[in-house]
């Protein structure tokens, strides 16, 4: 490693991010300040460091000033580190000699009333970043084989779409559905907005697609029991009809959709004269609606203290079913009690117009004055009239939200991905990586993320399949070089106590035949637990070494202790 002996020559690039950073703190002054720090030989401020111009400035800086370490002080490594690493790599600087300093997401954006303090904070963070950069070492990523197979968990619209798309591209694909039949929510629905297609026809088409593709293996009454390994090489245990099957899988797609909410305790829900939209769909399908005075209540169990979110499909579902009821029998009275109506885009707004024309009555209510459902009457307070309206009913339909599955948590822990506060799966980044999880090789689509309609579920199914195929269309995968390491010069420190073996969550550490501690780099995820625990400080966590972290501490503390 020649870089080790080489004197650090650090370049610091301070980003203005338009006015996101530069609007609060003086980036020119920060660049000037950076010049005063040890080992810094070049600094510059950029309007947008991530733009073509900004990246060219970094490359020129490296060339003209012979930089061997690069720092960008800007947004956050979670979104932009790959871009800058790539940029320095192209100019011949090892990507691990790049260091990110976060002065936007964790500074200017959250101290908007404190420009001076935010400037000082940025100075400290750059000082710490420079201190760490001086100690960084070049590392190489490792290349491992990737299995070109995919596992799709959940056989609803989104899962079937994704599985079919992957199988069509020639990848061996396994579709896991825990119920006896594919289809998810679609199985029960009657007609679908926005084109009144019969749900069962769509379902049959989707099923035909997945059943007729020889690359696609469908596992019904099946559940994922265990997942080990890493991108390109997941070892998955599936229980299908009581039998265990072992699969080696390259990529995993989560398409587990949602569960239904039973509105027990809301408006005297009884499943008979007070039912959910979902139950109404069944009734419509079986031509079993006798009622003549139908009142629908929106946002039952959503947008309240317990569930803050909007379930996004219920307004359209109510409009759709109201129109169907009117078409079936124009004499039927249909009223919709709503808080806000969500009908975005031309297709959906058209439904609203048609419903009005067909004579559906819309009454707004406010959550402060909730409607009350009595024996044969529904009482709802009307703000405009300033009085209560009494609407007779023989069927009351509650529009309840789609909610997350109870067992999402267990699945999330198995594949090591996060859930958001309502129990839905949380993607890596809502705008930059909407189909990805932070965990490599795992993707998400459809209403597993939050309630979406079928059009969106299908788009997301295709999108996730496309993202997944970018991995399994290659024979190999690059694994991070930032891993745990027991260097030969530290072997004398190791007493063979085996504590590191016990704490490693990935079983990456073992004793070899010579009774020496051995770390398998491809299994190591670089969490650093073994290094923090090692009894005799023998294990080094590359890219987060003790020396590197201590240098950051000392740079902030102002002295070495």
């Amino acid at each position: 490693m020649s870089d080790k002996e080489e004197e650090p020559r650090i370049g610091v690039f301070v980003c203005s991010c338009g006015s996101n950073i530069g609007g609060l703190i003086d980036v020119k002054a920060l660049a000037e300040f950076s010049k005063t720090l040890p080992n810094v030989v070049f600094t510059e401020d950029n309007l947008y460091t991530c733009s073509e111009t900004g990246l060219a400035q970094i490359k020129n800086g490296i060339k003209d000033h012979n930089l061997n370490r690069v720092i960008v002080a800007s947004c956050t490594p979670r979104t932009h580190e790959p871009l800058f690493r790539d940029c320095v790599k192209k100019e011949g600087v090892n990507e691990y000699l790049f260091n990110f300093v976060n002065i936007r997401d964790q500074n200017t954006w959250c101290h908007q009333k404190y420009p001076e303090e935010a400037f000082d904070k940025a100075k400290d963070l750059i000082r710490m970043g420079v201190a760490k950069a001086a100690k960084l070492e070049a590392l190489e990523n490792i290349i491992v084989d990737a299995t070109p197979t995919a596992l799709v968990i959940g056989g609803g619209v989104s899962g079937m779409t994704a599985a079919h798309s992957l199988a069509n591209q020639g990848f061996e694909t396994h579709l896991i559905e825990r119920e006896t039949e594919l289809g998810g929510r679609l199985k029960t629905l009657y007609k679908l907005f926005p084109n009144d297609q019969e749900a069962q026809i769509l379902l049959e088409n989707l099923k035909k697609n997945v059943q007729s593709n020889e690359n696609l293996k469908i596992h019904t009454s099946a559940q994922v029991k265990n997942i080990e390994g890493f991108v390109g090489n997941f070892e998955v245990k599936v229980e299908e009809n009581g039998n265990i099957i072992d699969l080696t899988i390259g990529v995993i797609l989560v398409a587990v959709g949602t569960s239904l909410f039973t509105p027990t305790g809301y408006f005297g829900y009884d499943g008979k004269t007070r039912i959910t939209q979902y139950e109404l769909e069944s009734k419509l399908k079986n031509n079993d609606v006798k009622a003549r005075d139908i009142v629908m209540i929106q946002c039952v169990g959503s947008r309240n203290n317990e569930r803050l979110y909007c379930s996004s499909v219920c307004c359209m579902t109510a409009l759709k079913n109201a129109l169907i009821l009117k078409e079936n029998n124009p004499e039927t009275n249909v009223s919709i009690l709503f808080r806000d109506l969500y009908t975005p885009g031309t297709h959906y707004e058209d439904y609203y117009r048609r419903a009005r024309e067909a004579g559906v009555v819309f009454v707004e209510y406010s959550p402060e004055k909730m409607p009350s459902v009595e024996e044969n009457l529904i009482k709802v307070h009307n703000e405009y009239l300033g009085e209560d309206l009494l609407i007779p009913y023989d069927l009351c339909v509650l529009s309840t939200p789609l909610v997350s599955n109870n067992d999402n948590k267990a699945l999330a822990q198995m594949i090591k991905v996060p859930l958001e506060e309502n129990g839905f799966f949380l993607e890596a980044h809502v705008k930059l990586r909407p189909m990805d999880f932070a965990t490599d090789g795992v993707f998400v689509c459809g209403s597993a993320k939050w309630p979406v309609d079928i059009t969106e579920s299908i788009s997301q199914g295709y999108a996730a399949a496309a993202r997944a195929s970018t991995i399994i269309s290659h024979d190999t995968i690059e694994v991070e070089g930032a891993t745990s390491f027991l260097p030969d010069y530290n072997r004398n420190l190791c007493t063979g106590c085996e504590v590191c073996i016990k704490v490693c969550p990935y079983k990456a550490i073992n004793k070899n035949e010579e009774d020496d501690i051995e770390i398998t780099q491809v299994l190591c995820k670089g969490c650093g637990v073994c290094g923090a625990t090692c009894i005799n400080h023998a294990i080094i966590i590359r890219h987060f070494t003790d020396q590197q972290i201590l240098s950051e501490i000392y740079a902030y503390g102002g002295k070495e202790v």
Partner: protein, 253 residues
């Protein structure tokens, strides 16, 4: 001017650092007192880091990881918690444990991140500047924390904390699980003894002292000092240097 604390936060990449970013993306405001060191997992935090930070005079240390069960690396935060509790036990000896805090923030909890950080800053502001900051530092406190740093660096303490989860939650080499109370009693005693020993070593590395001198300096019972010195002597870490009248004087080897 009012006192503005200097705080260092150790944030794990996957949850708490993401939560901190989300606070920014959502423009949630909080006071600008904390600087952040990003680590991949809270389990990366070597307890030595926390003592080093406090020794530089930084007023407070905040460790943030994923919620229990949510660690990106499965169990790193449980390991982090064990080490953190140990650090607190040491710091409690000198009533300094309120200057460190451990909490969990998920990637979706931007608002919670801002809240827990603000609360910690307030708590440190109330406690006032660290006696180890500025020009005239409290040397006795410095020595005590230095002895603690050396303790958490020692193989004995590291072996105990490193094995803790296996011993108490799974089972030890003999296939038995040690009840947590029993383990804690052993651990507490080890923490206290190791601290005293490291404190003795620190004093003897610059001066030659008798048991009585040491007892006075460390404000401890001479018999306890003597007991620990015998252990240190048998480990070959200290020895007689000379005899002053009837009193043996010791030095560090």
């Amino acid at each position: 001017m009012t006192f503005e604390p200097k705080i260092l936060g150790f944030l794990c990449n996957w949850c708490s650092y993401a939560g901190a970013d989300l606070a920014g993306v959502s423009r949630i405001q909080y006071p600008p007192n904390m600087r952040v060191i990003r680590v991949m997992c809270s389990g990366r935090i070597n307890p030595v880091f926390i003592f080093k930070t406090l020794l530089t005079g930084i007023d407070g240390v905040f460790v943030l990881g994923c919620h229990p069960g949510d660690c990106h690396y499965l169990e790193g935060n449980y390991e982090a918690e064990k080490k953190f509790i140990m650090v607190q036990k040491f710091l409690k000896i000198v009533d300094f444990d309120k200057r460190v805090r451990l909490d969990w923030v998920s990637a979706s909890e931007g608002a919670r991140f801002a809240k827990v950080v603000s609360e910690f800053i307030d708590s440190i502001r109330e406690q006032g500047p660290s006696p180890l900051s500025g020009e005239n530092i409290d040397q006795e406190l410095f020595n005590n924390l230095k002895a603690m740093e050396n303790s958490v660096s020692s193989d004995r303490i590291r072996a105990l904390v490193g094995r803790q989860r296996k011993i108490t939650e799974v089972e030890n080499e003999y296939g038995e699980k040690v009840p947590i109370d029993e383990f804690n009693a052993i651990f507490d005693e080890a923490i206290h003894d190791e601290f005293v020993r490291q404190r003795i070593l620190l004093s003897l590395s610059t001066k030659v002292l008798s048991v009585k001198d040491l007892a006075a300096e460390l404000k401890l019972d001479p018999s306890e000092i003597l007991e620990n010195m015998l252990t240190l002597k048998s480990r070959g870490e200290i020895d007689y240097q000379s005899i002053d009248g009837n009193t043996p004087l010791y030095m560090r080897i």
